[in-house]
Symmetry: C2
Subunit: 202 residues, 2 copies
């Protein structure tokens, strides 16, 4: 069996990477799965262990960090989030394609140790649209918004470190593009195991 | 306007590259065109200058060779066939994606001077199927068939020089894969012209 693809879908907040991933998963491609993260935050109603997250307490999480058991992890306020290495590796070894939907910092951690991954940057269609999306969440002060816009600009610039850029002006078109990227990557010479001798007349 | 893609579709005879190209063109992708070759062979009934071929006499063709006006050309028995450079370049400059459906020798000529092209190898699904396709043409002696099979084996091995390998076990699936390759190539970082500064808050 050939190994699955590791696909990293990332981008600034407000680019819509979550919606693009959901749309992609609704296409039900064979062998495509979204990775499940580990977290120290408490389960919310309806969340299921091993499906929504792997729920860990802080001690367990820190031990996993110390044993290098994460492909990437981050602390967000009081909670830790991370992608368990063995979980992803198992899937890949079993021929599953695994999507990591993560932020830019996480993606850059993954790239360091998994350069064979396929790095896709979801780009907001324009600054105006990004601004609109950030503002329309409606929960932030003017200063917070400015800070987030500046952050987003820096993140947009980091797209230079990715393999592909998908502009998210329409979520279905963007998901179709990611689907095409996965199909094309599987056709790449380096990923095709051709048994040349089987084409030889005895 | 961004430049179009040069897509080279090649493979051994019997791999079905012609049928895959026809199927791809029937999908009517915007801005995708098949290149028109020049030839010294006489027009057949129904063939139209500039659509089927650019018909040239031998002197004209040889003058074009001497002026380096072909991306690739070949002599097949008494006739010459070639891809006119200016015709293709004009299309690309006008943002059209251009498909060259050519044999392995032609593809390798193209690669020398157009490494930015996207090189797709159409692979017969198996030796048995290739044999079946070559034999079922029914026009050749046992010796001719053996010679063609050996030729095909050598050509299969040359797929190592391509960017992508598309196995043609089903013509629609194969054409869909080529379509995905075109879509994915357009999302590649190096082909995306992002105006980073437009994402900067004034």
């Amino acid at each position: 069996m050939s190994k699955g693809l590791l696909i990293i879908i990332s981008g600034p907040s407000g680019a819509g990477k979550g919606t693009v991933c959901k749309e992609l998963m609704s296409m039900q491609l064979p062998d495509l799965e979204v990775s499940v993260s580990a977290t120290t935050r408490k389960p919310r109603t309806g969340e299921v262990e091993g499906i929504s997250y792997f729920f860990k307490n802080k001690e367990e999480f820190i031990e996993m960090i110390n044993h290098n058991e994460f492909i990437e992890y981050a602390q967000v306020y009081d909670n830790f989030y991370g992608t368990p290495r063995s979980y992803v590796q198992n899937k890949l070894d079993n021929g599953k394609d695994v999507i990591l939907e993560i932020d830019i910092q996480g993606a850059m951690q993954v790239k360091k140790n998994n350069p064979e991954g396929v790095f896709v940057f979801i780009m907001p269609p324009s600054f105006e649209e990004l601004k609109h999306r950030i503002i329309s969440r409606g929960t932030e002060t003017q200063q917070d918004i400015l800070k987030r816009l500046h952050e987003a600009y820096k993140e947009v610039c980091s797209s230079r470190n990715y393999d592909y850029i998908v502009i998210n002006d329409d979520v279905h078109t963007a998901a179709e593009k990611v689907r095409s990227i996965i199909t094309a990557e599987k056709c790449k010479l380096k990923r095709c195991k051709i048994d040349y001798d089987s084409y030889k007349e005895e």
